[in-house]
């Protein structure tokens, strides 16, 4: 019941977001056809503007947009001529979702044990060593890790292909590049929350009961320590699934991230609107899932 109510609440929220995005984009100076060569005659220019309804008042354009949206039509891209926004999303989203999903999985599988190890050894050399590594992972941008991985593992060692998106082997390096950054962040977060949890009273009680440290960690502490990871995971997953500009550029992957950046730089209004709605919808939905998962993990959290 609670879930349904929150799910319905997403619709007005998405409407507000789409309206704001629509207005914000048109506040930025410049238009979609600025970088084109000047058209042969004013008539042609007028015809192009009319085709994309750019000659109407902004509010009327927005009303039209909503009408098309209700029919599931996101419109025509102004930059990639003759491609509908639906086509672009349908062709690029699966690629981004595969890469993002793998990177997310990699980040959690690596990051959670990493953080727990640091928390258990807090203040000792192990903590500093792994802490340094986790910071390196969280702080070195993909711009640097990507080329280094390509040079060492693809060009020198020849284990993996340098770029493109074809066989399962092509997936490895982009996943590592994208996942390491988030693995480092997850590790820092888990270290913090596990440390806090291990200091709480019910852990002292469990110790007094005579449980071994590993039992305390797995049966009692981990469950609570993962709460912040759940909250953090929702926006992280939304980010990952909608593509990463840098990784897609380095590895020449046909994903959504490149469209995201280019459509804002090119003022490709219909494409950008479609992507904003996709991202916002995914983010809000994942946040909702995270809230539900939190209530499952932590018996103290209750929703009415």
């Amino acid at each position: 019941m609670f879930f349904l109510k929150r799910l319905l609440l997403l619709i007005p929220l998405l409407l507000v977001i789409s309206f704001l995005a629509f207005i914000l984009m048109r506040l930025a100076p410049g238009g979609p056809f600025d970088s084109d060569r000047a058209p042969a005659s004013p008539e042609i220019e007028r015809a192009i503007r009319a085709k994309y309804r750019l000659d109407e008042p902004v509010l009327k354009q927005y009303a039209h947009y909503l009408g098309d949206l209700a029919k599931g039509d996101l419109g025509l891209s102004t930059k990639y001529r003759n491609h509908t926004v639906n086509d672009i999303i349908v062709s690029a989203l699966p690629v981004s979702m595969t890469l993002g999903g793998l990177a997310f999985f990699f980040a959690l599988v690596l990051g959670i044990p990493w953080g727990v190890v640091m928390a258990v050894q807090r203040g000792q050399w192990g903590d500093y060593f792994w802490g340094l590594l986790s910071l390196l992972a969280a702080c070195i941008p993909a711009l640097v890790i990507g080329p280094i991985l390509v040079l060492s593992l693809a060009v020198k060692a020849g284990w993996f292909p340098v770029a493109l998106w074809e066989s399962p082997l092509h997936v490895v390096l982009p996943t590592l590049t994208l996942g390491l950054l988030f693995a480092g962040k997850v590790a820092r977060l888990v270290r913090e929350s596990t440390t806090t949890t291990l200091q709480s009273e019910f852990i002292t009680a469990a110790r007094a009961k005579g449980l071994s440290e590993s039992e305390i960690l797995i049966k009692h502490a981990l469950r609570l320590a993962l709460l912040p990871v759940v909250s953090f995971s929702a926006p992280m997953l939304a980010d990952l699934l909608t593509g990463s500009f840098v990784v897609e550029t380095i590895f020449q992957i046909p994903g959504l991230g490149v469209f995201f950046v280019n459509s804002s730089l090119n003022r490709d209004y219909p494409l950008l609107m479609g992507l904003v709605l996709l991202y916002a919808g995914m983010l809000l939905f994942l946040n909702l899932l995270a809230d539900l998962l939190l209530a499952k993990l932590d018996p103290r959290v209750k929703y009415e």
Partner: protein, 291 residues
Amino acid sequence: MRFRRNKPAVISLCFLAALILLVVLWPWVAPYSWETISDAQFQPPSAKHWFGTDVHGRDLLTRVIFGARVSLLVGVVGAGVAFVIGVAWGAVSGYVGGRIDGMMMRFVDVLYSLPSIIFVIVLLTTLKEGATKWLTSTLGAKAAAQAPMLLLFAGLGAVSWLTMARIVRGQVLALRSRAFVDASRSLGASHARIIWRHILPNVWGIVIVYLTLTVPSVILYESFLSYLGLGIQPPMASWGSLVAEGAGQLNPIRIYWWLVVFPSAMLVTTLLALNFLGDGLRDAFDPKGQI
């Protein structure tokens, strides 16, 4: 004091102070200027150029220290905005609760769902002329040249406080119904006093930890924007843009490792120091801590 007994935190504080001092004093002691181009291109590190030189023969050490200025400023501004707006917004929202809480948090949700790159582009392009004019008339042409950078700070600040507001609100919501808050209320304490004396001290720990995470993410975001050509423009430098420049020079034939290693090392060392500092402050401010 608890903080002084935490060795890594004290060392980190000294390191950060030394770094800031170095950045401020460097223009007077530097043998090279950050924008002087020379014929000595791609020199590996030597006694003359400790960090080597870049594609235009500029001294990398000087550029790294010069770049610290932008990166540290960006980090401080982002963290400052996150701290002031984020804590205030989250504390009020969580403490007041009810309908106002719902509205304030939906506002955060909406801002959060709009990709931040749109904000930054709109801010940078719409306000550029206005800001330049205003700065020219009030502070002169020299200040007006800094207008794009100020707008960059504003854009980064505008997106950096959202997560902080969420985190603080969650904590305050849990603290609001605790017995010690009820006790204080029944003794007639004002809302301001309850927030300030009883709720916020319990929140500082997570706020500080999150701030030390905000600084690196803002610094990295700046480097991403520079990579897109929206942030710091050459010949200016920031750590992010230097790292990106170095990464752009990576190729299988000749490896100019110093172009990547030194800027990254400075970035990572600083972020490491910030993390140790945050850890130390967290322990020092924790009302439950014993030692």
